[in-house]
Protein backbone atom coordinates (compact mmCIF):
# COMPACT_ATOMS: atom_id res chain seq x y z
CA UNK A 1 0.00 0.00 0.00
CA UNK A 2 1.35 3.41 -0.79
CA UNK A 3 1.73 5.85 2.04
CA UNK A 4 -1.13 8.29 2.32
CA UNK A 5 -0.18 11.68 3.68
CA UNK A 6 -2.29 13.48 6.28
CA UNK A 7 -3.37 16.81 4.90
CA UNK A 8 -5.43 19.45 6.63
CA UNK A 9 -7.42 21.77 4.40
CA UNK A 10 -8.71 24.92 6.07
CA UNK A 11 -11.63 25.98 3.90
CA UNK A 12 -13.50 29.20 4.25
CA UNK A 13 -17.22 28.77 4.66
CA UNK A 14 -18.24 30.93 1.74
CA UNK A 15 -16.01 29.84 -1.12
CA UNK A 16 -13.64 26.90 -0.71
CA UNK A 17 -15.94 24.88 1.55
CA UNK A 18 -18.73 25.32 -0.92
CA UNK A 19 -16.21 24.48 -3.63
CA UNK A 20 -15.48 21.19 -1.87
CA UNK A 21 -19.20 20.62 -1.70
CA UNK A 22 -19.50 21.25 -5.43
CA UNK A 23 -16.68 18.78 -6.01
CA UNK A 24 -18.65 16.20 -4.03
CA UNK A 25 -21.96 16.94 -5.77
CA UNK A 26 -20.31 16.74 -9.17
CA UNK A 27 -18.64 13.49 -8.14
CA UNK A 28 -15.13 14.74 -8.80
CA UNK A 29 -12.75 12.33 -7.16
CA UNK A 30 -10.10 13.59 -4.78
CA UNK A 31 -7.77 11.65 -2.47
CA UNK A 32 -8.90 10.67 1.03
CA UNK A 33 -5.70 12.25 2.41
CA UNK A 34 -7.55 15.55 2.80
CA UNK A 35 -9.28 16.42 6.07
CA UNK A 36 -11.37 19.54 5.73
CA UNK A 37 -11.69 22.04 8.54
CA UNK A 38 -14.30 24.66 7.92
CA UNK A 39 -13.56 28.17 9.14
CA UNK A 40 -15.78 31.18 8.58
CA UNK A 41 -12.96 33.05 6.86
CA UNK A 42 -9.32 32.34 6.01
CA UNK A 43 -8.61 35.59 7.84
CA UNK A 44 -9.33 33.68 11.03
CA UNK A 45 -6.37 31.37 10.51
CA UNK A 46 -3.34 32.18 12.59
CA UNK A 47 0.20 30.95 11.96
CA UNK A 48 -0.01 29.02 15.23
CA UNK A 49 -3.01 27.03 13.91
CA UNK A 50 -0.94 25.88 10.97
CA UNK A 51 2.08 25.04 13.12
CA UNK A 52 -0.28 23.20 15.44
CA UNK A 53 -1.34 20.96 12.53
CA UNK A 54 2.28 20.10 11.79
CA UNK A 55 2.91 19.48 15.45
CA UNK A 56 -0.06 17.15 15.66
CA UNK A 57 1.11 15.05 12.75
CA UNK A 58 -0.10 16.70 9.53
CA UNK A 59 2.24 16.29 6.58
CA UNK A 60 0.75 19.18 4.67
CA UNK A 61 -1.67 22.07 5.20
CA UNK A 62 -3.82 23.85 2.64
CA UNK A 63 -5.53 27.15 3.24
CA UNK A 64 -8.29 27.65 0.72
CA UNK A 65 -10.40 30.76 0.49
CA UNK A 66 -12.28 33.17 -1.73
CA UNK A 67 -10.62 34.85 -4.67
CA UNK A 68 -9.20 38.32 -3.98
CA UNK A 69 -12.01 40.83 -4.02
CA UNK A 70 -14.62 38.14 -3.31
CA UNK A 71 -14.05 37.73 0.44
CA UNK A 72 -17.33 37.59 2.32
CA UNK A 73 -15.69 39.75 4.97
CA UNK A 74 -14.13 42.12 2.43
CA UNK A 75 -10.44 41.55 3.13
CA UNK A 76 -10.08 38.45 5.29
CA UNK A 77 -8.28 36.61 2.52
CA UNK A 78 -5.77 39.42 2.22
CA UNK A 79 -4.82 39.12 5.85
CA UNK A 80 -4.67 35.35 5.36
CA UNK A 81 -2.17 35.94 2.60
CA UNK A 82 0.17 37.96 4.78
CA UNK A 83 -0.14 35.48 7.63
CA UNK A 84 0.66 32.59 5.31
CA UNK A 85 3.74 34.46 4.15
CA UNK A 86 4.78 34.85 7.79
CA UNK A 87 4.12 31.17 8.45
CA UNK A 88 6.21 30.16 5.45
CA UNK A 89 9.14 32.15 6.80
CA UNK A 90 8.80 30.55 10.21
CA UNK A 91 8.56 27.09 8.63
CA UNK A 92 11.76 27.76 6.74
CA UNK A 93 13.69 28.43 9.97
CA UNK A 94 12.05 25.49 11.72
CA UNK A 95 13.21 23.22 8.94
CA UNK A 96 9.76 22.38 7.55
CA UNK A 97 9.71 22.34 3.74
CA UNK A 98 7.74 25.34 2.52
CA UNK A 99 6.01 23.17 -0.08
CA UNK A 100 4.05 21.62 2.79
CA UNK A 101 1.85 24.71 3.02
CA UNK A 102 -0.38 25.86 0.18
CA UNK A 103 -2.60 28.90 -0.11
CA UNK A 104 -5.10 28.89 -2.93
CA UNK A 105 -8.25 30.73 -3.89
CA UNK A 106 -11.16 28.50 -4.87
CA UNK A 107 -14.67 29.81 -5.42
CA UNK A 108 -17.92 27.98 -4.60
CA UNK A 109 -18.43 26.97 -8.21
CA UNK A 110 -14.92 25.64 -8.72
CA UNK A 111 -15.49 22.04 -7.67
CA UNK A 112 -13.15 20.74 -10.34
CA UNK A 113 -10.42 23.09 -9.16
CA UNK A 114 -10.89 21.89 -5.61
CA UNK A 115 -10.49 18.25 -6.60
CA UNK A 116 -7.51 19.04 -8.81
CA UNK A 117 -5.80 21.07 -6.06
CA UNK A 118 -6.33 18.27 -3.57
CA UNK A 119 -4.87 15.75 -6.00
CA UNK A 120 -1.86 17.86 -6.95
CA UNK A 121 -1.07 18.82 -3.37
CA UNK A 122 -1.30 15.20 -2.23
CA UNK A 123 1.23 14.31 -4.93
CA UNK A 124 3.59 17.07 -3.78
CA UNK A 125 3.38 15.88 -0.18
CA UNK A 126 3.76 12.28 -1.26
CA UNK A 127 6.98 13.19 -3.02
CA UNK A 128 8.24 14.97 0.09
CA UNK A 129 7.43 12.03 2.33
CA UNK A 130 6.13 12.13 5.89
CA UNK A 131 7.08 15.14 7.98
CA UNK A 132 8.09 12.84 10.77
CA UNK A 133 10.90 11.46 8.67
CA UNK A 134 10.40 7.71 8.65
CA UNK A 135 8.42 6.87 5.54
CA UNK A 136 5.76 4.32 6.39
CA UNK A 137 5.59 1.07 4.42
CA UNK A 138 8.96 1.88 2.94
CA UNK A 139 7.35 4.37 0.58
CA UNK A 140 8.59 7.84 -0.10
Amino acid sequence: MTWLPKIIAFCCNWCAYAGADTAGLSRFQYPPSIRILRVMCTGRIEPSMILNCFEQGADGVMVLGCHPGDCHYISGNESAKSRIEMTLEIMEILGIDKRRLLLKWISASEGALFAETAKDFTEVIRSLGPLRGEPQDGQR
Binding site: E46, P47, S48, L51, E55, I90, L94, L131
Partner: protein, 378 residues
Protein backbone atom coordinates in the same frame (compact mmCIF):
# COMPACT_ATOMS: atom_id res chain seq x y z
CA UNK B 1 1.06 22.17 47.44
CA UNK B 2 3.31 19.69 49.13
CA UNK B 3 5.48 20.75 52.01
CA UNK B 4 8.84 19.89 50.43
CA UNK B 5 8.18 22.26 47.59
CA UNK B 6 7.48 25.03 50.03
CA UNK B 7 10.74 24.40 51.88
CA UNK B 8 12.76 24.26 48.70
CA UNK B 9 12.38 27.95 47.96
CA UNK B 10 12.85 29.13 51.51
CA UNK B 11 9.23 30.21 51.88
CA UNK B 12 9.36 29.34 55.56
CA UNK B 13 12.14 31.84 56.09
CA UNK B 14 9.82 34.71 55.26
CA UNK B 15 9.95 37.32 58.01
CA UNK B 16 6.91 39.12 56.72
CA UNK B 17 8.80 42.34 56.05
CA UNK B 18 6.92 43.15 52.86
CA UNK B 19 9.89 44.25 50.79
CA UNK B 20 8.79 41.91 48.01
CA UNK B 21 5.35 43.48 47.78
CA UNK B 22 6.91 46.92 47.94
CA UNK B 23 9.05 46.14 44.93
CA UNK B 24 6.82 43.85 42.89
CA UNK B 25 5.72 45.67 39.71
CA UNK B 26 2.53 43.66 39.62
CA UNK B 27 1.58 44.68 43.18
CA UNK B 28 1.91 48.29 42.07
CA UNK B 29 -0.80 47.80 39.53
CA UNK B 30 -3.05 45.26 41.17
CA UNK B 31 -4.03 45.87 44.73
CA UNK B 32 -4.85 42.29 45.48
CA UNK B 33 -1.60 40.76 44.26
CA UNK B 34 1.19 40.56 46.80
CA UNK B 35 3.97 37.99 47.07
CA UNK B 36 4.05 38.49 50.82
CA UNK B 37 0.40 37.70 51.30
CA UNK B 38 0.68 34.71 49.01
CA UNK B 39 3.48 33.39 51.19
CA UNK B 40 1.54 34.20 54.32
CA UNK B 41 -1.66 32.60 53.09
CA UNK B 42 0.13 29.45 52.12
CA UNK B 43 1.94 29.17 55.41
CA UNK B 44 -0.72 30.25 57.83
CA UNK B 45 -4.05 30.00 56.17
CA UNK B 46 -3.38 26.93 54.04
CA UNK B 47 -5.20 28.74 51.28
CA UNK B 48 -4.97 27.57 47.73
CA UNK B 49 -3.55 29.85 45.07
CA UNK B 50 -6.03 31.14 42.56
CA UNK B 51 -5.27 30.37 38.96
CA UNK B 52 -4.99 34.02 38.10
CA UNK B 53 -2.57 34.88 40.86
CA UNK B 54 -0.20 32.26 39.68
CA UNK B 55 -0.08 33.76 36.20
CA UNK B 56 -0.07 37.40 37.27
CA UNK B 57 3.53 37.17 38.43
CA UNK B 58 5.98 38.01 35.64
CA UNK B 59 8.73 35.93 37.32
CA UNK B 60 10.99 38.98 37.15
CA UNK B 61 12.76 38.06 40.36
CA UNK B 62 12.64 41.55 41.89
CA UNK B 63 11.10 40.13 45.05
CA UNK B 64 13.84 37.54 45.42
CA UNK B 65 16.60 40.01 44.63
CA UNK B 66 15.47 42.21 47.51
CA UNK B 67 14.35 39.62 50.03
CA UNK B 68 16.64 39.55 53.05
CA UNK B 69 15.59 36.02 53.92
CA UNK B 70 16.57 34.61 50.56
CA UNK B 71 13.05 33.50 49.67
CA UNK B 72 13.05 32.50 45.99
CA UNK B 73 9.52 33.56 45.32
CA UNK B 74 9.71 33.56 41.52
CA UNK B 75 11.07 30.02 41.50
CA UNK B 76 8.31 29.08 43.87
CA UNK B 77 5.76 30.58 41.46
CA UNK B 78 7.22 28.54 38.65
CA UNK B 79 6.85 25.37 40.64
CA UNK B 80 3.27 26.22 41.46
CA UNK B 81 2.66 26.51 37.72
CA UNK B 82 4.40 23.27 37.06
CA UNK B 83 2.26 21.45 39.56
CA UNK B 84 -0.89 23.12 38.35
CA UNK B 85 -0.66 23.04 34.57
CA UNK B 86 -3.70 20.83 34.46
CA UNK B 87 -5.81 23.16 36.54
CA UNK B 88 -5.38 26.65 35.20
CA UNK B 89 -4.07 28.04 31.96
CA UNK B 90 -2.41 31.36 31.34
CA UNK B 91 -3.57 34.12 29.02
CA UNK B 92 -1.26 33.53 26.09
CA UNK B 93 -0.36 36.10 23.43
CA UNK B 94 0.14 35.88 19.66
CA UNK B 95 -2.09 32.83 19.29
CA UNK B 96 0.49 30.76 21.17
CA UNK B 97 2.86 30.87 18.21
CA UNK B 98 5.95 30.90 20.41
CA UNK B 99 4.83 27.74 22.13
CA UNK B 100 4.48 25.99 18.79
CA UNK B 101 7.90 27.21 17.74
CA UNK B 102 9.31 25.63 20.90
CA UNK B 103 7.32 22.47 20.34
CA UNK B 104 8.44 22.05 16.73
CA UNK B 105 11.98 23.02 17.75
CA UNK B 106 11.96 20.02 20.04
CA UNK B 107 11.32 17.49 17.28
CA UNK B 108 14.44 15.48 16.53
CA UNK B 109 13.09 14.76 13.03
CA UNK B 110 13.24 18.45 12.12
CA UNK B 111 16.48 20.28 11.49
CA UNK B 112 15.92 24.00 12.03
CA UNK B 113 17.90 26.38 9.85
CA UNK B 114 18.71 29.29 12.06
CA UNK B 115 21.57 30.92 10.18
CA UNK B 116 19.61 33.27 7.94
CA UNK B 117 21.23 36.29 9.59
CA UNK B 118 24.89 35.75 8.64
CA UNK B 119 26.37 38.46 6.46
CA UNK B 120 29.73 38.70 4.65
CA UNK B 121 31.09 41.52 6.82
CA UNK B 122 31.24 39.38 9.95
CA UNK B 123 33.63 36.56 10.69
CA UNK B 124 32.59 33.23 12.07
CA UNK B 125 34.79 30.20 12.23
CA UNK B 126 34.20 26.49 12.24
CA UNK B 127 36.68 25.51 14.89
CA UNK B 128 36.57 28.32 17.41
CA UNK B 129 36.45 27.41 21.07
CA UNK B 130 33.62 29.92 21.51
CA UNK B 131 30.12 29.33 20.20
CA UNK B 132 27.52 32.06 19.77
CA UNK B 133 24.05 30.86 20.78
CA UNK B 134 21.45 32.87 18.89
CA UNK B 135 18.11 31.81 20.37
CA UNK B 136 14.74 32.90 19.05
CA UNK B 137 15.75 36.29 17.61
CA UNK B 138 15.34 35.09 13.98
CA UNK B 139 11.71 34.25 14.79
CA UNK B 140 11.12 37.64 16.37
CA UNK B 141 12.25 39.21 13.13
CA UNK B 142 9.43 37.48 11.29
CA UNK B 143 6.67 37.79 13.87
CA UNK B 144 7.33 41.45 14.61
CA UNK B 145 7.76 42.71 11.07
CA UNK B 146 5.17 45.36 11.81
CA UNK B 147 7.53 47.00 14.31
CA UNK B 148 10.05 47.79 11.57
CA UNK B 149 12.98 46.66 13.66
CA UNK B 150 15.69 44.59 12.04
CA UNK B 151 16.14 42.06 14.83
CA UNK B 152 18.78 40.23 12.79
CA UNK B 153 21.05 43.19 13.36
CA UNK B 154 21.44 41.89 16.91
CA UNK B 155 23.22 38.60 16.14
CA UNK B 156 25.24 40.41 13.47
CA UNK B 157 26.27 43.07 15.97
CA UNK B 158 27.12 40.31 18.44
CA UNK B 159 29.57 38.76 16.00
CA UNK B 160 30.99 42.20 15.14
CA UNK B 161 31.67 42.87 18.80
CA UNK B 162 33.24 39.47 19.26
CA UNK B 163 35.38 40.02 16.17
CA UNK B 164 36.49 43.34 17.66
CA UNK B 165 37.85 41.57 20.73
CA UNK B 166 39.56 38.92 18.65
CA UNK B 167 36.96 36.16 18.74
CA UNK B 168 35.59 34.55 15.62
CA UNK B 169 32.79 32.51 17.11
CA UNK B 170 31.36 29.38 15.67
CA UNK B 171 27.63 29.13 15.13
CA UNK B 172 25.41 26.08 15.12
CA UNK B 173 23.90 25.27 11.76
CA UNK B 174 20.80 24.00 13.46
CA UNK B 175 19.79 25.54 16.75
CA UNK B 176 16.71 24.93 18.83
CA UNK B 177 14.84 27.15 21.25
CA UNK B 178 16.73 27.36 24.57
CA UNK B 179 13.56 26.43 26.47
CA UNK B 180 13.42 29.52 28.69
CA UNK B 181 9.71 30.13 28.26
CA UNK B 182 8.83 26.50 28.76
CA UNK B 183 10.77 26.43 32.00
CA UNK B 184 8.98 29.49 33.38
CA UNK B 185 5.60 28.23 32.20
CA UNK B 186 6.26 25.15 34.28
CA UNK B 187 6.40 22.90 31.23
CA UNK B 188 9.33 20.77 32.34
CA UNK B 189 8.94 17.94 29.83
CA UNK B 190 9.28 20.19 26.83
CA UNK B 191 12.05 22.14 28.52
CA UNK B 192 14.08 18.99 29.14
CA UNK B 193 13.58 17.84 25.57
CA UNK B 194 14.84 21.17 24.16
CA UNK B 195 17.70 21.50 26.60
CA UNK B 196 18.78 17.94 25.90
CA UNK B 197 18.93 18.56 22.15
CA UNK B 198 20.83 21.81 22.62
CA UNK B 199 23.32 20.23 25.00
CA UNK B 200 23.92 17.40 22.57
CA UNK B 201 24.52 19.86 19.73
CA UNK B 202 26.84 22.06 21.81
CA UNK B 203 28.77 19.16 23.22
CA UNK B 204 29.27 17.48 19.89
CA UNK B 205 30.48 20.78 18.44
CA UNK B 206 33.32 20.64 20.93
CA UNK B 207 32.96 24.31 21.93
CA UNK B 208 34.44 25.20 25.30
CA UNK B 209 32.33 28.26 25.87
CA UNK B 210 28.90 29.38 24.81
CA UNK B 211 28.26 33.09 24.43
CA UNK B 212 24.73 34.48 24.38
CA UNK B 213 23.52 38.00 23.74
CA UNK B 214 20.03 37.19 24.96
CA UNK B 215 19.68 37.33 28.75
CA UNK B 216 17.02 34.64 28.65
CA UNK B 217 19.28 32.19 26.83
CA UNK B 218 22.06 33.15 29.22
CA UNK B 219 20.22 32.62 32.48
CA UNK B 220 18.65 29.43 31.15
CA UNK B 221 21.86 27.84 29.90
CA UNK B 222 23.92 29.08 32.80
CA UNK B 223 21.64 28.38 35.75
CA UNK B 224 18.77 26.17 34.67
CA UNK B 225 20.51 23.60 32.47
CA UNK B 226 22.85 22.47 35.28
CA UNK B 227 19.85 22.10 37.57
CA UNK B 228 18.47 19.41 35.28
CA UNK B 229 21.61 17.98 33.69
CA UNK B 230 24.38 18.53 36.22
CA UNK B 231 27.47 20.62 35.61
CA UNK B 232 28.14 21.49 31.99
CA UNK B 233 31.27 20.78 29.96
CA UNK B 234 31.44 24.35 28.79
CA UNK B 235 31.39 27.89 30.15
CA UNK B 236 28.33 30.07 29.56
CA UNK B 237 28.99 33.78 29.11
CA UNK B 238 26.81 36.76 28.49
CA UNK B 239 27.93 39.09 25.75
CA UNK B 240 26.80 42.30 27.46
CA UNK B 241 28.89 41.37 30.50
CA UNK B 242 31.85 40.44 28.31
CA UNK B 243 31.69 43.78 26.53
CA UNK B 244 31.45 45.71 29.79
CA UNK B 245 34.60 44.00 30.99
CA UNK B 246 36.34 44.43 27.65
CA UNK B 247 35.61 48.16 27.68
CA UNK B 248 36.92 48.39 31.23
CA UNK B 249 40.14 46.57 30.53
CA UNK B 250 40.72 48.47 27.31
CA UNK B 251 40.42 45.38 25.10
CA UNK B 252 37.45 46.97 23.34
CA UNK B 253 37.51 50.63 22.38
CA UNK B 254 34.30 52.33 21.49
CA UNK B 255 34.17 55.83 20.06
CA UNK B 256 32.36 58.34 22.14
CA UNK B 257 29.73 60.58 20.68
CA UNK B 258 28.98 63.56 22.86
CA UNK B 259 25.57 64.00 21.30
CA UNK B 260 24.57 60.50 22.34
CA UNK B 261 22.73 60.07 25.62
CA UNK B 262 21.16 56.89 26.88
CA UNK B 263 19.35 55.27 29.76
CA UNK B 264 19.24 51.55 30.44
CA UNK B 265 16.30 49.21 30.94
CA UNK B 266 17.66 46.28 32.95
CA UNK B 267 16.18 43.07 31.54
CA UNK B 268 14.91 40.89 34.42
CA UNK B 269 16.95 37.90 33.32
CA UNK B 270 20.09 39.99 33.18
CA UNK B 271 19.88 42.12 36.31
CA UNK B 272 17.80 40.13 38.73
CA UNK B 273 18.32 36.56 37.61
CA UNK B 274 22.01 36.92 36.69
CA UNK B 275 23.18 39.95 38.65
CA UNK B 276 24.77 41.56 35.60
CA UNK B 277 24.20 45.22 36.35
CA UNK B 278 27.31 47.36 36.05
CA UNK B 279 28.64 45.93 32.78
CA UNK B 280 25.99 47.33 30.43
CA UNK B 281 26.41 50.71 32.11
CA UNK B 282 30.14 50.63 31.43
CA UNK B 283 29.43 50.11 27.75
CA UNK B 284 26.93 52.96 27.67
CA UNK B 285 29.18 55.35 29.60
CA UNK B 286 31.94 54.66 27.10
CA UNK B 287 29.89 55.84 24.15
CA UNK B 288 28.00 58.81 25.47
CA UNK B 289 26.26 60.41 28.42
CA UNK B 290 24.38 58.03 30.65
CA UNK B 291 21.26 58.73 32.70
CA UNK B 292 19.76 56.43 35.30
CA UNK B 293 16.03 55.87 35.59
CA UNK B 294 14.50 55.90 39.08
CA UNK B 295 13.53 52.25 38.71
CA UNK B 296 16.76 50.61 37.74
CA UNK B 297 19.17 47.85 38.66
CA UNK B 298 17.56 45.50 41.18
CA UNK B 299 14.37 47.52 41.28
CA UNK B 300 14.03 47.85 37.54
CA UNK B 301 10.59 46.92 36.24
CA UNK B 302 9.89 44.11 33.83
CA UNK B 303 9.08 44.96 30.18
CA UNK B 304 5.61 43.66 31.01
CA UNK B 305 5.28 40.31 29.30
CA UNK B 306 7.24 37.23 30.30
CA UNK B 307 6.99 33.92 28.48
CA UNK B 308 4.32 35.47 26.24
CA UNK B 309 1.74 35.51 28.99
CA UNK B 310 -0.67 38.26 30.01
CA UNK B 311 -0.35 41.00 27.45
CA UNK B 312 -3.23 43.43 27.68
CA UNK B 313 -4.03 47.12 27.75
CA UNK B 314 -2.79 47.21 31.31
CA UNK B 315 0.61 45.85 30.26
CA UNK B 316 0.78 48.35 27.43
CA UNK B 317 0.18 51.16 29.90
CA UNK B 318 2.94 49.77 32.07
CA UNK B 319 5.28 49.79 29.06
CA UNK B 320 4.33 53.32 28.05
CA UNK B 321 5.00 54.46 31.59
CA UNK B 322 8.42 52.90 31.38
CA UNK B 323 9.13 54.79 28.18
CA UNK B 324 7.98 58.02 29.79
CA UNK B 325 10.30 57.29 32.70
CA UNK B 326 13.17 56.90 30.26
CA UNK B 327 12.27 60.10 28.47
CA UNK B 328 12.07 62.01 31.74
CA UNK B 329 15.71 61.28 32.50
CA UNK B 330 16.63 63.53 29.59
CA UNK B 331 18.25 60.69 27.68
CA UNK B 332 17.84 60.48 23.93
CA UNK B 333 17.41 56.72 23.78
CA UNK B 334 16.22 53.82 25.88
CA UNK B 335 18.67 50.97 25.63
CA UNK B 336 17.96 47.37 26.47
CA UNK B 337 19.98 44.18 26.22
CA UNK B 338 17.16 41.72 25.56
CA UNK B 339 15.55 41.15 22.15
CA UNK B 340 12.18 40.46 23.78
CA UNK B 341 12.27 43.64 25.87
CA UNK B 342 13.02 45.44 22.62
CA UNK B 343 9.96 43.87 21.02
CA UNK B 344 7.61 44.51 23.93
CA UNK B 345 8.65 48.08 24.63
CA UNK B 346 8.62 48.98 20.93
CA UNK B 347 5.25 47.33 20.51
CA UNK B 348 3.63 49.63 23.05
CA UNK B 349 4.81 52.62 21.03
CA UNK B 350 3.65 51.14 17.79
CA UNK B 351 0.03 51.87 18.39
CA UNK B 352 -0.50 55.33 17.03
CA UNK B 353 -3.45 56.14 19.21
CA UNK B 354 -1.42 55.78 22.36
CA UNK B 355 1.79 57.28 21.04
CA UNK B 356 1.69 59.64 18.10
CA UNK B 357 4.61 59.73 15.70
CA UNK B 358 6.17 62.68 17.51
CA UNK B 359 5.87 60.97 20.88
CA UNK B 360 7.87 57.95 19.80
CA UNK B 361 11.07 57.40 21.66
CA UNK B 362 14.19 55.62 20.44
CA UNK B 363 14.49 52.12 21.83
CA UNK B 364 17.68 50.34 20.88
CA UNK B 365 19.58 47.18 21.54
CA UNK B 366 22.86 47.61 23.38
CA UNK B 367 24.81 45.29 21.09
CA UNK B 368 23.65 47.05 17.96
CA UNK B 369 24.47 50.40 19.50
CA UNK B 370 27.90 49.31 20.72
CA UNK B 371 28.75 47.63 17.42
CA UNK B 372 28.07 50.90 15.63
CA UNK B 373 30.66 52.60 17.84
CA UNK B 374 33.52 50.13 17.52
CA UNK B 375 36.71 52.13 17.29
CA UNK B 376 38.59 51.29 14.15
CA UNK B 377 41.91 52.70 12.99
CA UNK B 378 41.26 51.86 9.35
Amino acid sequence: MDKDRIEEYGIRQCIDCGKCSWACPVSHRENDFSPRSIVENLLVGDKKLLGREMWDCVTCGTCSALCNSNVKFHEFMRTVRKLSVERASPMITHGDIFNFISLLSSKPYLRPRTLNWLSPDIKVSEDSRALLFVGCTPYLNIIFKNLNIDFLQIPRAAVKLLNAVGIEPRVLESERCCGHDQYWLGNDDLFIQLAGLNLKAIESSGAEEVITFCPECYSTLKFVYPRFFGSLDFEVRNLTAMMGDAVDSGVLSLTEDSSLSTTFHDPCRLAKHSNIIEEPRRVLRAIGRFFEMPRSRHTSVCCGVASWVNCDSWTKRWQLERIEEARATGAGALVTACPKCLAHLSCAQYEKNSCGESRRFDIVDIHVLAASRIFSTE
